[in-house]
């Protein structure tokens, strides 16, 4: 029997520039104890759909234009604010994507946990603080928080990402809801943590007998967890059906495209590695003062972000650097490029030593080595047009002059696949993928020999991700680039790299030719990492989860 029945839901955004049909005629139903996955890329309307059920959309600009959403025989879209509070408090709970921002940093997690109980809209259901505390601690224990009694009074920043998400889950369950909406609950987490959290959700769903709506862009994750799948794109439903039929027997073009875009398998291109070391790093250390700890003998203790790393990169090679958050992979990249001061060690570019050069002396080298940043939103100056962003390095390094700068910029745009007509637009007018193209354009503008790409596709949708990866491969080919490709995503690294290094807590735990390492990982950490990757195949994925 369906616990939630949505019919013909329409949510439009009324902006100054016209109406955007965020959700257009969406219908679905969820049964008790069932998991419905809503899959789609960013902007597909999957989150808006769910938020509209709980009246969590900002109005204006959002407006619900039509449809019904019956929960227990009551239409959520038209009920009074009081009834809505009642539902939020009793029946429906949400787990949000980013546990970092979704928890109030100013309040202890305990306080946030018990709030729904002590401020319950139904006066008779209000519980005393001590009772609520008991229940919260019991739940914290259940979601796997160690020593819940003392952790109850800690603040969110004192937890790691995975633990925070566990707290979020406990918070969602504390009201004993019948429907749980999980909005990309593992997207912000490392793969190993993701596996744990998914398992936890699955387990809890069974013990608490809740219906789950699971929103995700990651088909691998969905494959293992969902009973039914709903594929959305541009506000409309493209396909709906049970998990196996969607993954194995999809008739829809869009679904097929999504599935095809998932990077899998080994690198397809021939390696062009030349037997010449372009970058040589020996015993590199980058330490920071740890301001959060007490000074000892007048000195701060050190965070060893990069600890005694030695590596070589050959000309033409793509080296994949894999690590989870906090492993020091970004710091290593920045250290090699001399963007952060090195504590010890030597970095050589070709025959020349980079360490010890003054910023002024580094200027000619900067032209020869570049960086692509993870977040295409933050790495572009919001007040500079594409033209300005791309022309700046050209003019600054004397690679173009006033007469030919326009044509040079146009060429660059062609190369990275941007329409020339967009030259005078600002970064915010582009989608994430296009922005990353701009950032890549800026990086190759100076005709560098060496590029460090720091998670260049992590923030992108899967279809876009594939395009950008292909673009990078093309450019490496055509520009004879050497690259260090940093990522947490093992499938992506496998798809692009010639050689892989696994970084853990500032130290390289394993390295080797990509396929060799894949086939035969030696280090337990690497093994665990590889095991944690979700597979976009329901049968394999279910089996994988069982085995963890």
């Amino acid at each position: 029997m369906a616990i939630l029945e949505v019919k013909g839901l329409k949510v439009y955004f009324h902006t100054r520039n016209g109406v955007v049909k965020a959700v257009d005629d969406v219908s679905f139903s969820v049964d008790s104890g069932e998991t419905l996955a809503i899959v789609g890329e960013s902007g597909s309307g999957k989150s808006v759909t769910c938020y509209s059920l709980l009246d969590l959309l900002p109005k204006p600009p959002a407006r619900i234009e039509g449809g019904t959403a019956f929960f227990d025989g009551e239409d959520l879209l038209t009920c009074s604010p009081d009834r809505m509070r009642h539902h939020r408090c009793n029946d429906i709970a949400v787990i949000f994507q980013d546990p970092m921002t979704s928890l109030n940093p100013f309040l202890t997690i305990g306080e946030q946990l018990i709030e729904p109980l002590i401020y319950h809209p139904d006066k008779s259901l209000i519980q005393s603080r001590s009772k609520a505390r008991e229940r919260a601690i019991q739940l914290l224990d259940e979601v796997g928080i160690i020593d819940p009694d003392s952790r109850f009074d800690c603040y969110p920043h004192e937890f790691s990402g995975g633990m925070r998400q566990r707290v979020m889950i406990a918070m969602a369950l504390i009201t004993k809801p019948r429907l749980l909406i999980c909005d990309e609950p593992t997207t912000a987490l490392d793969v190993t943590i993701q596996a744990q959290i998914l398992k936890l959700i699955k387990k809890l769903q069974q013990t608490h007998e809740v219906a789950v709506i699971f929103i995700s862009h990651d088909l691998g994750v969905v494959a293992g967890i969902a009973d039914k799948v709903l594929v959305m794109c541009e506000g409309t439903i493209r396909e709906t059906g049970n998990t196996d039929s969607i993954f194995y027997r999809s008739q829809n073009e869009y679904t097929k495209k999504l599935l095809a875009a998932i990077p899998s398998g080994p690198k397809k291109l021939e390696s062009r590695v030349k037997p010449e070391n372009l970058i040589r790093v020996s015993h590199l250390k980058t330490h920071f003062n740890d301001y959060s700890k007490q000074k000892i003998d007048g000195k701060y203790s050190q965070i060893k972000a990069v600890d005694d790393v030695s590596l070589n990169i050959s000309r033409g090679e793509i080296l994949g650097l894999v690590g989870e958050s906090g492993s020091g992979k970004s710091t290593l990249g920045r250290s090699i490029l001399q963007l952060v001061p090195n504590t010890a060690g030597i970095v050589n570019f070709g025959a020349d030593q980079l360490t010890g050069l003054s910023p002024r002396q580094l200027v000619p080298w900067r032209r020869r080595m570049q960086m692509i940043f993870q977040d295409p939103y933050a790495s572009l100056n919001p007040r500079m047009t594409v033209y300005e962003t791309l022309s700046e390095p050209l003019l600054y390094h004397g690679l173009a002059n006033r007469e030919n700068v326009l044509s040079k910029v146009s060429e660059l745009m062609d190369e990275v696949g941007l329409a020339r007509g967009h030259m005078r637009k600002y970064p915010h007018e582009f989608s994430g993928g296009q922005r990353q193209r701009i950032a890549i354009g800026r990086a190759i503008a100076t005709k560098p020999e060496f590029i460090i790409a720091d998670e260049p596709v992590s923030a992108l949708d899967v279809t876009i991700q594939a395009q950008i990866l292909d673009l990078i491969l093309d450019l490496v080919e055509s520009h004879n680039l050497t690259m260090m490709f940093i990522s947490h995503d093992l499938s992506v690294v496998r798809y692009i790299s010639d050689r892989v290094m696994i970084l853990h807590q500032g130290v390289i735990v394993e390295e080797g030719k990509t396929e060799e390492l894949w086939a035969n990982p030696q280090d337990p950490y690497t093994q665990n990492l590889l095991r944690s990757i979700p597979i976009a195949d329901p049968i394999l994925e279910r089996a994988r989860i069982e085995n963890i």
Partner: protein, 566 residues
Amino acid sequence: MRYSHNVYLRFSDSVKLTSSTLFKGIALFGLLMVLTSCGTSENNVATGNRTGTLHWGNGTEPQSLDPQIATGVPEHHIISSVMEGLVGKDRKTLMPIPAVAESWEVSDDLKVYTFHIRKNALWSNGDSHTAHDYVWSWWRALQPALGNLYAYMLFPIDNAQQYYEGEIENFDQVGVKALDDYTLQITLGNPTPYFLQLLDHYSLFPVHQTTIEKFGAADERGTRWTYEGNLVGNGPFSLSDWKINRRIVVEKNPLYWDAENVKLNRIIFYPTENVTTEERMFRAGQLHVTNDIPADKIDVYRTQKNPALHLAPYLGVYFYRVNINTPHLSDRRVRRALAMSIDRESLTRNIVKAGETPAYAITPPGTIGYQPPQELGFDPEGAKQLLADAGYPNGDGFPATEILYNTNEAHKKIAVAIQQMWKKHLNIDIQLLNQEWKVYLASESAGQYQVSRAGWIGDYVDPNNFLDMFLCGGGNNRTGWCNEEYDRLILEVAPAMKSHKERLAIFAKAEKMLLDDMPVLPIYIYASKRLIDPSVKNYDSNLLDQASYKDIYLDGESPVTMQVDK
């Protein structure tokens, strides 16, 4: 399409609720404040009338209540309520009346004064009050280390100046003698017709030796003897409270010799620097008497025929100094032209407004019967001619000239008006330069100015007080003007005159010399401006703007009568 993930928020439907909780807090705070305000509906004036308390706007915070250190008018008001000299002044005519001295004799050569001190005069702590107190007080007043700016008030006394300047060292040679406990004999160097008036000036008031010595050396400045609780005086009131910048309270002194005729129980002096505020305080019934009135308010009170308005001539002159050492101003024709093209009638009527009279001489007319020469009236044509004679026909070639004044709205207004008058009548360019008080003083005494605003308030009613300003090199001259004949008339001839009339004639002659040369441009004679609640009785405006606190009484009951001051 771009819905950034952080815009999914819902703005409240229950805004009213939230703001109401916040408003509750505010309301509580407001309520607290208002509650404290609901104590009484009676204002100061009404309360004061009931309890015999006079609320007096006193201008600025006094800098000292030591009569031999203090210099200002606000200080004067307070000191004269807590102390008294040998001789007082009639509150209307300003003629000398007995005070601590019940009587006195003057020798035939007008040089020896013998005072008989009341036997019932006491210090406010009960100590007896004798002639020796005066000898000691004046000895103190003449100690250079004390830094008494009014030491010169004692100089008419024989050898006082010599003692002060260190020429003689023995104070016994100074002409002050206590013949016995209650008889004081004073010998003057020259006959000084205004000497009795000086005795009512606070610098000649007696001070209480034991108290002063209790808190420091006799000639030490800034000891705590003038604080509330410490100060011992001999006046109708005694100091009971002094809160800096807030108020000074004096209470009736039961030991005062004339205590039975003192009607007020208490006077509270408020420092009221801001004239506008003071006027509002008066209107709100917080003051009985104000120190001043904003010029623009005077018309309002006048039109209303408001009985509170008290305007009266005041012994002071507002004038411009001209720096004789400025090349183009060294020509006295130029100075006379400047003087003749100021329309003082219009200025006093339209700008200063408080009944000030146009001044054509430096001495206020009517000063103990003295009538100064008045010849340079408003004559733009004559002025133009004079300027042409001096080489500036129609103002051509006249260098740009600056009027210096200290920062003050009233001075500015006058300067603006005169600037325009000179522009209009003489076609010369005038610039205004205002400087902050101390800078202005420094500029003026260093002679770094061309034309400078000035004022002089008489300390005693005698032409000498005005005319000796312009002696050669005198500290208050500052114009660079010097005339030996003038000096001789003021310093030697006038004091030697036998009769009052002859003496005045000499002053008139001297003043004529001054006005012929015009190193100063007299503008108007001051007026005292006060708002006085009709319940204040026995207050009489006089030339020195000096109230007689012992006579004042408050009567809020009697019907308001129109008071006409003049």
